[in-house]
């Protein structure tokens, strides 16, 4: 049994390597198929990574009361546009009235230029946040501290900077805390540096930011039209309950009557998750579509080449059968040939994927998982079996006398 199996596998291998060029050509479909399957898998892995990064920005137990929802879909933009603004005093009122909320803060932002001596960092996302954000923000502080309630209320000129900003302004400084920098020309004292969070799709760095107290931003740059109210849900409180409570309080603050629609949005991380889910679904659909098509083409190619191989080896099959090879021995021999072609195609596809992923990774953290590798190899073997079975079984049924006469 084993001897015969081994013999069959060896013959299968030899057959493939005796016709390298032909086999390689046949593999093309499989290579492309596996490439698209594994690139798809890797892209989805990358999206998950992005999602995990954003988890670092938005806490899991935080609600954001805002004028617009994060993902508007097909909704009426004018309706959103005409909504009244979110007002600063909502924060305090929600904190007072909502038993499910432990902290309520304020957030707004604008683009500024930061400078230290001759180093400039342009287009920095400067956030103005309430002191309560110290308890809500998920971003970690690497060195220094958040600002205090007093610093917020007294509109102190203190600033926390992101790691990217830190690198640009202070390339040679170990710890910039205590140093003075300029925000659009105004002097601020650095009190903290955020830990690095990484890039999203390589396009923008969430580290290219800075944070000052909300009241400071208001006093320096004036009132902001766009205010977000981050709310931390009290520990152990059900999220749905908190959401409902905040909603009804906000409706009260907005003076809405029972039948009026909400004219504000309560955003949360889950909305992000749903949206990423949709992107993942469409990537999968495209990836699976391309993969299925090229695997089909590849499979047909293998089947075709296997028919050729059976034809070429008709005499050999006849001799082997005359000497006592049973049907399954011949079947396995050709099936292995098909599987080997498909499997090598799959391995090349995986190799190309990992090369591409290596390049892409410079912008975007993504990796091929072990599961993906096994899936790809499994699919290759499957294609080999499906496309090899018909020619192989045809070979196994050849009549030995007829086959031996074949030249």
């Amino acid at each position: 049994m084993f001897n015969q199996l081994y013999e069959s596998i060896v013959i299968g291998f030899k057959a493939v390597f005796q016709n390298k060029g032909r086999a390689l050509l046949t593999m093309l479909g499989i290579i492309i198929g596996i490439l698209s399957v594994s690139l798809m898998g890797t892209a989805i892995n990358g999206i998950d990574n992005v999602f995990n990064q954003t988890l670092g920005m938005f806490g899991d137990d935080v609600l954001y009361v805002q004028q617009f929802p994060w993902f508007m879909g097909n909704a009426d933009w004018w309706e959103f546009r005409n909504r009244p603004q979110i007002r600063e005093e909502y924060s305090e009122k929600i904190a007072e009235r909502a038993s499910s909320i432990s902290y309520a803060s304020l957030e707004t932002s604008r683009r500024v230029t930061l400078s230290y001596k001759e180093n400039n960092s342009e287009g920095v996302d400067l956030g103005g946040r309430g002191w309560q954000s110290a308890y809500i923000d998920a971003a970690k502080i690497e060195s220094g501290r958040y600002f205090t309630q007093l610093e917020d209320q007294s509109a102190s000129r203190v600033i926390l900077i992101g790691s990217e900003v830190n690198k640009i302004l202070f390339p040679n400084v170990e710890d910039p805390c205590g140093m003075s920098i300029k925000v659009n020309g105004l002097k601020f004292r650095v009190i903290g540096v955020f830990a690095e969070q990484g890039k999203i799709f390589g396009m923008f760095s969430i580290d290219n930011m800075a944070v000052i107290p909300f009241q400071t931003l208001k006093s320096v740059f004036g009132r902001s039209r766009w205010i977000t109210i981050p709310l931390k849900i009290r520990e152990g409180v059900d999220k749905e309950y908190a959401l409902e409570e905040v909603r009804s309080i906000t409706r009260g603050l907005r003076g809405l009557r029972p039948l009026d629609k909400d004219n504000f949005a309560i955003n949360q991380q889950e909305a992000m998750e749903d949206e990423l889910g949709k992107i993942k679904t469409s990537i999968s659909a495209v990836g699976i579509g391309i993969a299925a098509l090229s695997l089909l083409v590849g499979g047909i190619g293998i089947m075709n080449i296997m028919f050729v191989s059976v034809k070429e080896r008709t005499k050999e099959i006849g001799i082997r059968k005359a000497l006592g090879a049973k049907r399954w021995v011949i079947l396995i021999q050709f099936l292995f040939e098909a599987i080997i072609i498909a499997l090598i195609g799959g391995l090349i596809g995986l190799g190309l994927t990992s090369l591409l992923v290596g390049v892409v990774n410079k912008f975007f953290v993504a990796s091929m998982s072990i599961g993906l590798v096994f899936t790809a190899l499994g699919v290759s073997i499957g294609v080999g079996i499906v496309s090899g079975i018909v020619p192989a079984s045809q070979a196994s049924r050849l009549d030995p006398i007829e086959a031996m006469r074949f030249e």
């Binding site: 015969q4 005499k315 050999e316 005359a322 000497l323 006592g324 049973k326 049924r397 031996m404």
Partner: protein, 235 residues
């Protein structure tokens, strides 16, 4: 007891409307350690008979027993009782073939060619190598073991085929015009080998066109139009 018994064997090919009776009622008994040669004009059914004896082909009608085993039963429609795979096992265990065109696998060494019947017989590797080498020594080709068929002369190729035919200790060795592709000098060398196999106790059936070769056997069967025309046993 006879080693093989053929009873009223028919092998009929239907080609369109034409019926070709390659074998038209053949009865033969062969004893153990007999040395039989079959002669007859081309198309008289010699190869067809050899293929049926060698379990490569199934008769249209008639009974066949080999080594006490019923291979085809003489029922009215002559349906074979052995399946494709069962016939493969019988060929592997009981038959040694020598063909006119050698029928070696071209991409394999002489040794591997001789090993093949043992591989399909499930003989373990070490024993297989030993037996294949012994068989090649017996045909005086031990020094060409690792050569491929295209690196060997015609006579040497046929020796490899002889080694392959005897390596599985078959009940019967079937040689269909083994010297048909060889010059007369090498023909006689091959025939000396086959004579030796007979002397060692093997049963041999040989198809040939040449009288001097046929005369080496103890029994000469003449075929004509799918029937046995003459069957002469020497004393």
């Amino acid at each position: 007891m006879s080693l093989l018994i053929l009873k009223n064997i028919f092998r009929i090919y239907q080609i369109g409307d034409i019926e070709v009776r390659a074998l038209n009622g053949v009865d033969v008994d062969v004893e153990r350690n007999e040395y039989v040669s079959i002669m007859g004009p081309s198309g008289s059914g010699k190869s067809t008979l050899m293929n049926i004896i060698g379990c490569l082909d199934t008769p249209t009608k008639g009974g066949y027993e080999l080594d006490g085993m019923v291979i085809h039963q003489e029922v009215k429609d002559g349906t074979g009782i052995a399946s494709d795979d069962q016939l493969a096992v019988i060929r592997n265990q009981k038959i040694g073939f020598i063909f006119q065109t050698f029928n070696l696998l071209p991409r394999m060494t002489a040794l591997h060619n001789v090993e093949l019947p043992l591989i399909y017989g499930g003989v373990p590797r070490a024993e297989r190598l030993e037996r294949a080498q012994a068989a090649l020594e017996q045909v005086q080709l031990a020094d060409r073991m690792h050569h491929k068929p295209n690196e060997l002369s015609g006579g040497q190729r046929q020796r490899v085929a002889v080694a392959r035919a005897l390596v599985n200790n078959p009940s019967i060795i079937l040689a269909d015009e083994p010297t048909g592709n060889l010059d007369s000098k090498t023909s006689h060398d091959i025939m000396d080998l086959i004579d030796n196999l007979h002397k060692e106790g093997n049963t041999i059936i040989l198809v040939t066109h040449e009288h001097d070769i046929a005369e080496r056997a103890n029994r000469v069967i003449h075929m004509l139009d799918g029937k046995i025309h003459e069957d002469n046993k020497k004393k």
